[in-house]
Amino acid sequence: MKFGVVVFPGSNCDLDAYHLVKDVLGEQVDYIWHQEESVAGFDCIVLPGGFSYGDYLRCGAIARFSPVMKSVVSFAGGGGLVLGICNGFQVLLEAGLLPGALYRNINLQFRCLFTHLKVENLQTPFTVGLEAGRLLKIPIAHGEGNYYADPDTLRRMEKSGQIVFRYATANGEVTDTANPNGSLANIAGVCNEMKNVLGMMPHPERAGEAALGSEDGRLIFKSILKSWEGSR
């Protein structure tokens, strides 16, 4: 399986995603420069974290017009796996590949800390490898991760299992105190209806080695590998 990590001007977690896939998981990976017009040859596209175009105007707003995004959109339309992490999530929302929007954290501050995620849907390519009830300890680092969708959209998403991760306490309770940014219904990650596009604010690529405080992020990449194997 071959991963592609997109590099926008201002991406800065590209290296971390690359490192996890290549050095920790031993899988194939290449960078994809934002001006590439094709993503042919890749099996999973990762839109990494960072501050594409400085996050000026709105996070992800300018990056979504990069040449590479056209091919990412059609790749996703054909069922290809796309994972957007943090800024990558914001780009996916701006590009219309996922519903809703992300805006300023409720306390107006950038926040960097470990969070616990409750997995709400084990039937996505990104979560199939997880045990039921297993919480994931994965850090966040963002200033605009406050998820919003209008009530109708939210209802639809709940129904079709598009809410994938919610912020929870260390005991797995979805409460206000566990919510680091004001996100609607503690939402930390969502997918599209087809389930092949996932956006999440927490950084699984920062939780792939014991030395970094958690290995849970690896499980998401393992799931991707598993579902890809299964689909062949």
């Binding site: 105007l57 709105r58 707003a61 300018i62 017009f65 929302l93 701006e94 809703g100 929007a101 805006y103 300023r104 954290n105 409720i106 306390n107 107006l108 406050n146 919003y148 969708a149 209008d150 004001g182």
Partner: protein, 82 residues
Amino acid sequence: MWKAEIRVLLKKSVLDPQGQAVENALGSLGYGNVQDVRIGKYLEVSFDAGSRQEAEAQVREMSERLLTNPVIEDYTFELVEE
């Protein structure tokens, strides 16, 4: 030459944490008479266009494609000929 003066605010249904914070700060600075604060973006875009109509159409298009996010934001604008 036209100058579009675009004001962008969060939709009423979306909580405005920044406005809230400034409202509280004004209160504690002694402006107890302040009832509501909303904070958004202000953009000035200068560009050429043949007519006011054309200019208006272009501002709408730019706003909807790039300058605002219709999921959470509303905008209004004025056009000034320069």
